[in-house]
């Protein structure tokens, strides 16, 4: 009985994975297509990869997407983590107000956040560009950092900070040596969420980047002649990078798992 269940659930999981990976497989396949078509096979070729690296627009869009994502992640993680620590020590009323406001961008459709920021930047006469785009990304990433890190901070024993200070650590060093190691996992999770959201964002970037800011999403959305196979090549490279990261992560997880079993 149990075996059959296991088999059936295996089939289900496999089908889901097939659903998830079929389009990705097609993306990869057609990145090696010799002709421009994304639907008919014209022979094997690496030519789109050459094109990709020659295209200044795509490379700059990729680079900027990456820079913005990295910066937005770092800044929002720092701001959010510090805020989570401060919030845990604040009065309940204040805390509740802040946490509710923090939820606005989370329960609001992205497009509403986007036009809100657009209106803000325009009324401040801020010229749209990578600066406004970065601000916008920080604005929508930080709330996610807070909701990821805050519960962890709240669950900490408040006397840990006191203990560290008591043993001679300055308040900042107490944070660094006694608190951060314990919320590290939550901080990494928050960073991963922030990075993914920023890296993948379209709507908010589209509205706030002005006409000088371009990331991958905006580049693709405003492409005139459909999506060229260079994008498939780009995706393939991204998939390879992600796979390496995932593989690395997997090895780490396995090591940790083995260690836990041994203990």
């Amino acid at each position: 009985m149990k075996k059959r269940n296991n088999f059936l659930s295996g089939v289900f999981i496999s089908l889901c994975l097939l659903f998830v990976y079929a389009p990705i497989f097609s993306l990869v396949l057609f990145s090696f297509n010799a002709n421009r078509s994304l639907t008919t096979w014209g022979g094997f070729s690496f030519s789109w990869y050459g094109e990709l690296f020659k295209s200044r627009e795509i490379m700059s869009a990729v680079l900027w997407t990456f820079i913005i994502a990295v910066l937005a992640t770092i800044i929002s993680v720092i701001i959010g983590t510090f805020a989570a620590i401060a919030l845990a020590k604040n009065k309940r009323l204040f805390k509740n107000i802040v946490l509710n406001l923090n939820n606005i961008p989370i329960v609001n459709p992205e497009i509403v956040t986007a036009i809100g920021l657009l209106l803000l930047f325009q009324s401040l006469r801020l010229q749209g560009g990578y600066g406004t785009m970065l601000l916008a990304h920080i604005a929508f990433c930080t709330p996610y950092v807070i909701i990821t890190v805050y519960p962890k901070v709240k669950s900490l024993d408040p006397s840990l900070i006191e203990a560290a200070q008591d043993l001679g650590a300055t308040p900042m060093r107490a944070l660094y040596y006694a608190v951060f190691p314990q919320i590290k996992v939550a901080i990494f999770a928050a960073a991963a969420i922030a990075f993914t959201m920023s890296f993948d964002d379209f709507v908010i970037s589209y509205f706030t980047a002005g006409s000088t800011g371009t990331n991958i999403s905006i580049y693709l959305y405003t492409l005139k002649r459909g999506i060229p196979p260079t994008i498939n090549a780009l995706s393939t490279i991204m998939i390879i990078v992600v796979s390496i990261a995932v593989g690395f992560n997997f090895i780490l997880t396995r090591k940790q798992y083995k260690k836990e079993i041994q203990e």
């Binding site: 600066g131 002005g210 002649r225």
Partner: protein, 353 residues
């Protein structure tokens, strides 16, 4: 900790640097509307990087021009008219455009169009403010295997209403209403409410048909596989598609259509006015104009290039689309703000039907 901080400081300063980097010629144009090689050549010759910033519609370009500074902008005729009216662009110094002669360099059809405009009851001298970049008209790209020329000649624009074949109407309020107004026998610059209402009703009936969708640039991809049999399209797009798919041909309805010209203009707040003129002059030379036309597929305003394109055997299969015939009722779009708002609102309702 320190490393991270250092990285942040570095990146932030990088960003501000990039944001403040004004030392480039900023060209604002439709996406994919310039041969990038020309920009590289210009950079090499003048030692100044060119930053190409794409827009996806004239309306958006105008909104953004109010917020940001560009050196050269390439909008369409009616948008240029608006820019002139709103005092946002400066006159062209033709003495610096040595590669073109205002009087003799343009093909007859384009010249007459611009002259008509000058002599209109609401006169407009576009050449004072812009240097033509590309021009063309709007027509119907059709699948020669499914649609006969006879049908097109019989129904003209109404073919979209008559047929049940998969069809595409260009998703732009202006071009949609142009088609309707021309079919109904009115001016496409009409500001008569009854005429506009009639056009809206006509378009709504078409929009309710299941075979009609509203697209813009997607057709450039979709029509490679002849996904639709009838497509309302600009001549340049038609050239591109006919070049890639030999099932296709181009027909310009004789009841009249939109003849358009896109031009290079220099905003009043441009920072590099001289270099902007140099750029315009550079791109207007015979070699560059030819290269650009061959890359973008739109028709050049240079008489010599234009004639080469419609006589060369290499492009014989594209002649229908390359040749900009002028029919009696052809018009150029004018800037009529009060109509634009009505038409825009109506258009959103039509396409969401």
């Amino acid at each position: 900790m320190k490393k991270i901080l250092g990285f942040i400081v570095l990146s932030v300063s990088l960003i501000t640097l990039a944001a403040c980097n004004t030392n480039s010629l900023k060209v604002f144009s439709y996406g994919d509307y310039i041969d990038p090689q020309i920009l590289r050549d210009f950079e090499r010759e003048f030692g100044m990087p060119v930053k190409l910033i794409p827009f996806d519609s004239n309306e958006r370009a105008l909104t953004k021009m109010k917020l940001e500074k560009f050196d050269v902008v390439i909008p369409s005729d009616y948008a240029i008219e608006q820019l002139i009216k709103e005092d946002m662009i400066q006159p062209i110094d033709w003495t610096k455009i040595t590669n073109l002669n205002k009087e003799t360099s343009f093909p007859l059809e384009l010249k007459s169009l611009l002259n008509d405009l000058k002599e209109d009851e609401n006169p407009l001298d576009l050449l004072e403010y812009m240097v033509p970049y590309f021009w063309g008209n709007m027509g119907i790209v059709y699948n020669t295997e499914k649609v006969s020329l006879a049908d097109l000649e019989q129904y003209e624009w109404d073919i979209f209403n008559q047929t049940n074949l998969p069809a595409v109407i260009y998703d732009s309020s202006r071009d949609g209403f142009m088609m309707a107004l021309k079919h109904l026998g009115y001016s496409m610059n009409s500001n008569v409410t009854t005429e506009l209402t009639e056009a809206e009703a006509y378009l709504t009936t078409i929009a309710k048909k299941n075979n009609v969708v509203f697209l813009t640039d997607e057709i450039l991809d979709d029509m490679l596989t002849t996904k639709y049999d009838l497509v309302q399209a600009y001549s340049g797009d038609a050239v591109y598609l006919m070049d890639k798919n030999d099932k296709l041909n181009f027909y310009v309805p004789e009841v009249g259509t939109n003849v358009w010209v896109d031009g290079m203009v220099i905003p009043k707040n441009a920072e590099k006015v001289d270099l902007a003129h140099e750029f315009i002059n550079f791109i207007s030379s015979y070699e560059m104009a030819l290269a650009n036309t061959e890359y973008v597929f739109y028709q050049s305003p240079r008489k010599d290039v234009y004639e080469y394109m419609i006589t060369s055997d290499d492009y014989a299969h594209l002649r229908e689309a390359y040749q900009v015939k002028r029919n009696l009722n052809d018009e150029i779009f004018r800037y009529v703000p009060e109509v634009k708002k009505i038409v825009d609102d109506a258009w959103l309702k039509i396409i969401t039907n």
